[in-house]
Amino acid sequence: MDWAFPGNREAATPLGQRIDDLFFLITGIVTVTFIGTMGALSYVLWKGSKNEDEKGWYSHGSHNLEVIWTIVPAGVLLFIALYQLDVWAIYRVRDHENRDVGPRPSHLVAEVTARQFEWRIRYPAPGTKFTTYKQIKAWLAKPHAGDVYAVNKLFVHLNRETLIYLKSADVQHAFFVPDLRVKQDAMPGQSIDIWFTVNKSGKFNLTCAELCGWGHYKMRGEVEAVEDLEARLKELKDLQDYDGVTPPGTVPAGASEEATP
Amino acid sequence: MTSAVRTLTTTTLAAVSLGLLTGCGGGASATPTVTYKAGGESGADSGGGPVTQIDGTGTLSGTIKLVGTAPTPKVIVAKGTAKRDTNVCGAEVAIIDQSLQVGEGNGIANVFIYIDKAPPGAPIPAAPTESAVFDQKGCVFLPHAMVVRSSQTVLIKSQDDAGHNTHTYPGRSRSFNGAIKALERDGVPLIYNKHERTPFPVKCDMHSWMQAFHLALDHPWGTITRADGSFELKGLPATELTLRVWHEKAGGKGGFLERKLKVTIPKDGSATVDKEFQLSDFGL
C-alpha cells in the first residue's frame, strides 16, 4: 500500500482529482497561515527573551485587533466552505434516484457485500439493462437467474459512470479505494449506493476502512477498470456455467430448446 | 528540571523507544531451520534370512460361548412403528439390536476369528474372483458381519424400496460413502484395497441403527462364528498360529476378546479351540 499522499499518485477519477485540488488549496491556505502565525510568535518570543531591562507592557485589549482576527479567518473559512460545496454535493448529496442528475440506473455494475473478511460481489446477468431504480431494488432483494458471482475482485467501467450498491453481511465495514478517492461505510441492513467514474485504466487496491474484527487488516480486494465490461462479465459467466464437459464460452445452458433426453 | 529527573526522563524515553524498535523477534517472521531426512528407511524389524516354506494345511474349528445369561436384545424399532420409510423399516419384522447375539447353547454369533498377518512362508491361495454380496432388507444389513478378501469386489445390494447409503470406516483401506438406491439388485461395487488389522463398522447414515462389521484380509484365513457360536477355518497353514478374536461389544465398545490366541495346526489334521467369555468381557 504505497499511497500516502495525493501528490504521489494522481486520483483515477475526475471527482478524485477535484478532491485533490481542494486538498492542495486548503493545504496552501493553512501553510501560509501557519508560517505567518508561527513566524510572528517566534519573533515575539525571541525579541522578548533578549529584553532583560524593560518591563512587560500591559494592554487593555484592542477592539480593532479583535475584529480583524475574527473577520479574516471567518472570511477564509467561508470561502473554503463555499468553494467545496459543489464537490461535496456531487459526492454525497446528489439525489440520483428521482432527478435527472446522477448516475442512470443503467450504470449499475454490481452489488458488493462486505463480510468478515472478504468482499463478495454479485453482478447482474450480462446484458441486463436496468431502466428504473425500482428494478434495481428488486434485483438487490434476492438472487436472480444469470447472476455472476465473484469474490474480492471487482470489475468496473472505464470512462463511464459506475454505480455499485454496498451491503454488509455482518458488521460495519467500509469500502475504500484510495486511488479513486472513494470511501463509504457499509451498514448492516442497508444497500448504499456508491458512484464514480474511473478515467484511468488499471488495478486499484480495495481495502476495508472500518474496523470489523481481527481480520480487518487483511480485508483486501482489487478494483479493475476495464474498457469492455460486458465482455469481461461474459467470460466470468461462462466460467461459472462450466459443466466439466462443454468448453466455457460455447453453447450456454438453458438456451437450447431441444427436448431433454 | 533537576539533572536527576532529566537523566531519568532521558533514560526512560531511550528505553521505551529501544523496546519498541527492537520489538519481538521470532514468531511469524523467524526463518525456521530445515533438516532433511531421507525416506525409504526399512521399518521391518524382522531381519532377513531365508524363510522356511510351510507346507501342508489343516483345519481349525471350535465354539465361542458366553458364560451366564445374555441380556435380551433391545427392540430398536417395533414392527410398524418406524418414523420414516415406514414401508420398509420394521415393516415386516421388528428391528432388534444385533450387537450381542447369543444363540442356542449360549454360543455367541458374529465373533471374528482371524490371523492378522499371514505367517511368512505360507503359500497364500489366490483371491476369489466372484464378488461377495452385502445386502439389506427391512433396514437391516445382511449379513451383520462379514470377512472378505482385500481386492475382492463387494456388491452392495438392497431389497428395500427406499434409499439407503453405505458408509464404511476402514482403518487402512479407502473409505466409501455411496448411496444405494431402492431395490438395487445389480449391486454397487466396493473394494477394500488394503489388508485390515481389525474389523470396522459399516453404517447407514440415513437409518442410524443400521450397522454391520466388515474385515478385509489379504489372505483367506478369517471367519465369523455362526448363530450357535461355532466356526470353522479350513486350509490354514500347518504351523503355530496367533489368532485374534474380536467382537463388536467386547469391552463395551468393540475390541479383542483375545489378542494372541496361540494354536498349532497339525498338517492334514484339525485343531479345536473352545473359548468361553464372561458377561464382564462385554461390559455388562
Binding site: 438472487p143 437450447s256 433426453p261 | 517472521s29
Partner: protein
C-alpha cells in the same frame, strides 16, 4: 545519586523486555497422548520422539523424503570449497534467501548439512559448523532442500495459524470466537487428512488443486475468507505446508491407533498385560507401524492428485429448462434415493433424518443429541439449498461433483450409481431453488412455496391437460389483484434467456 534514582533508572529499562520474549511455536500433541502417558510413558515418548524426528518443530522443521511434499529442492554442484564456504553453481532460479535450508551433499554416503547463508552474487554457500565434518570435494553434487517449506511455514503462521492452529488442529486463538454459532463450521482440523470440498472421487483425498481453490476462493458463508490476491508461489507454499501438517496429524493418529491397546480403560486403569503389550507395540513393532503409516499416507495423498481420480462428467449438462428441473425435483423427493429426508422437502436442510440419534463409529455409542455428525464428531446440518450458498463452488460441475462423489467426512453420500442424466436433472433443480423456488405446482411450474401456488405465476397460458370449460374459471380466481411481482415494468430487459418459468 540516591538509591531511589538508581531504582527508578532500572525500572525505566523495564519496557525493554516488554513483548521481547521470543514466541516459541510448538506443535501440540493429540489429546489422547496425555492419557497414554499415564499408562505407558515409553509409548508416549516413542510417539512424540518419532514425530519430532520426522516432522520437527515449527522452528526446526524436518523435511522427510518419504512424504509426497514439495519441500522446495534446488540441485547444484560444488565448484570449490574452503572450509565451510562452498562456491556452488545452482540450477534454475534459486530464491535469494537460502538461510537454514538443509543441504544434502551427495557423497558416497550422503551427508546432511545446513546452509547458513547464500550469496547470489558471489555464489558462495556458507554451511553451518558441524563437528568432524569431512571436507567437501569439488564436483560433489548437492541438493538444497526446504525453501518452500520455510516459506509455507512463514506464510501459514501469518495468515492461517490464528484459526487453524500451529498444529493444524483447528484450534488457533481466534477459533474460539467461531464457536458461538450452533452450526457455523469450525476451522478445519487437518489431522485426519480429510477435506470436504474436493473434485476427486469417493474415498480419495483432496488434490492440490482443491486446496488451492479453497484458499483462493474461500468458502462462501463460512469464516474461511478468500485469499484471491495472494501470489501463486505463496499459495503453493501454503498448500504444501497444509499438507505437511495434515500428514503429520495422520501419522500421529495412525500411531495412536497402533498403540490403542495401551490406552487406559474407561475407569482409568491400565490395560491387562501392559508390560507385554508395551514391549510388542511400543518397541518391537513400532518402527514397522511408522513405516506403514507413512506409506499409507503417502499413497493416499499421491492418488488424490492423479487425473484419473477426478470426477468428470461424460455428458454435457442437460438444458436447464422446467422439464429437467421437474424431473430433478421428482428425484429429489422420491424415497428411492431419499435426498429430501436430509435436505428437507423444501430443500431447507431440515429433513426427517435430523431427528434421529446417530452412533459414533469409533466408540459404537450413541451421540448425546439427535442430528447428523461429521468425521470430527461435530453437529453438521445438510445444506440449506434455498440459500444460494455453495461452499464447494457454484458451477454446474461443482454441484455435479457434490452429487456424484458426496462430501468427504460427512454423511453426504456419493450417488454415483444414479444415471448421469438423472444427476444433471438434480443439478438443474438444485441450482434453480434459490431463484425460482423449491416446489412445483400441479401444472409443473416452479414456485417458492406457500399457499398460493400461482404466486409469481402471472402469465396467460394454455394447459393442454385442462378441459376448455375450465380455462376461464382458472385465471381470474387464481390471481390476486395486487400482485407486485412480475409486472413488465419491474423486470429489466435482458438479452439472457428468460428464466425457465417464463417459457410459454
Amino acid at each position: 545519586m540516591t538509591t531511589r534514582h538508581s531504582i527508578l533508572r532500572l525500572l525505566a529499562l523495564l519496557p525493554l523486555v516488554v513483548g521481547c520474549a521470543d514466541y516459541q511455536a510448538e506443535f501440540v500433541n493429540d489429546e489422547r497422548v496425555a492419557a497414554l502417558e499415564t499408562t505407558s510413558s515409553v509409548a508416549a515418548t516413542n510417539l512424540t520422539n518419532s514425530l519430532n524426528t520426522h516432522f520437527g518443530t515449527p522452528n526446526a522443521l524436518v523435511a522427510w523424503g518419504a512424504l509426497p511434499i514439495e519441500f522446495g529442492e534446488i540441485s547444484g554442484t560444488v565448484l570449490s570449497a574452503t572450509g565451510n564456504s562452498l562456491r556452488v553453481s545452482l540450477e534454475g532460479d534459486p530464491p535469494t534467501a537460502l538461510n537454514h535450508v538443509a543441504v544434502v551433499l551427495e557423497t558416497k554416503t550422503p551427508q546432511n548439512r545446513m546452509a547458513s547463508s547464500y550469496d547470489a552474487d558471489t555464489r558462495i554457500l556458507t554451511l553451518t559448523e558441524q563437528e568432524a565434518a569431512p571436507a567437501v570435494t569439488p564436483g560433489t553434487p548437492l541438493r538444497l532442500i526446504g525453501h518452500k517449506l520455510q516459506a509455507g511455514r512463514r506464510l501459514y503462521m501469518q495468515h492461517c495459524m490464528h484459526c487453524h492452529g500451529v498444529t493444524g488442529d483447528g484450534n488457533g486463538p481466534t477459533a474460539r470466537y467461531i464457536r458461538n454459532h450452533r452450526f457455523n463450521p469450525l476451522p478445519r482440523d487437518y489431522r485426519r487428512g480429510l477435506f470436504k470440498f474436493t473434485s476427486t472421487k469417493n474415498g480419495f483425498y483432496a488434490s492440490r488443486d482443491d486446496l488451492r481453490r479453497t484458499v483462493r476462493q474461500g468458502l462462501a458463508g463460512t469464516y474461511m475468507p478468500s485469499f484471491l490476491l495472494i501470489d501463486p508461489d505463496e499459495l503453493d507454499a501454503i498448500v504444501e505446508f497444509v499438507r505437511f501438517l495434515a500428514m503429520r496429524g495422520e501419522i500421529e493418529r495412525r500411531l495412536l491407533t497402533h498403540l490403542a491397546p495401551l490406552m487406559p480403560t474407561d475407569d482409568g486403569d491400565p490395560p491387562k498385560d501392559l508390560q507385554s503389550l508395551e514391549k510388542e507395540l511400543a518397541v518391537d513393532t513400532f518402527n514397522e507401524a511408522l513405516a506403514d503409516a507413512a506409506s499409507l499416507v503417502a499413497e493416499n495423498w499421491t492418488s488424490a492428485d492423479a487425473p484419473e481420480n477426478l470426477v468428470i462428467p461424460t455428458t454435457a449438462r442437460l438444458p436447464d429448462d422446467e422439464k429437467s428441473r421437474l424431473k430433478g425435483r421428482n428425484l429429489f423427493i422420491s424415497t428411492k434415493i431419499n435426498c429430501a429426508k436430509c435436505h428437507g422437502e423444501g430443500g431447507r436442510g431440515n429433513g426427517g433424518f435430523l431427528k434421529d440419534i446417530q452412533k459414533n463409529p469409533e466408540t459404537q455409542q450413541n451421540y448425546p443429541t439427535p442430528g447428523l455428525r461429521d468425521a470430527w464428531h461435530k453437529m453438521i446440518q445438510p445444506r440449506n439449498l434455498t440459500s444460494g450458498i455453495y461452499r464447494g463452488g457454484r458451477r454446474p460441475l461443482d454441484v455435479f461433483r457434490r452429487v456424484t462423489a458426496g462430501i468427504k467426512a460427512t454423511p453426504m453420500a456419493g450417488f454415483a450409481t444414479v444415471p448421469e442424466t438423472d444427476r444433471w436433472h438434480i443439478v438443474n433443480y438444485v441450482l434453480s431453488i434459490p431463484i425460482d423456488g423449491a416446489f412445483f405446482d400441479e401444472h409443473g411450474h416452479q414456485y417458492h412455496g406457500g399457499d398460493d401456488s400461482h404466486a409469481d405465476h402471472d402469465h396467460p397460458h394454455d394447459h393442454e391437460a385442462d378441459k376448455p370449460a375450465d380455462k376461464p374459471a382458472d385465471k381470474p380466481a387464481d390471481k390476486p389483484a395486487d400482485k407486485p411481482a412480475d409486472k413488465p415494468a419491474d423486470k429489466p430487459e435482458t438479452t439472457q434467456p428468460k428464466s425457465a418459468k417464463d417459457k410459454k
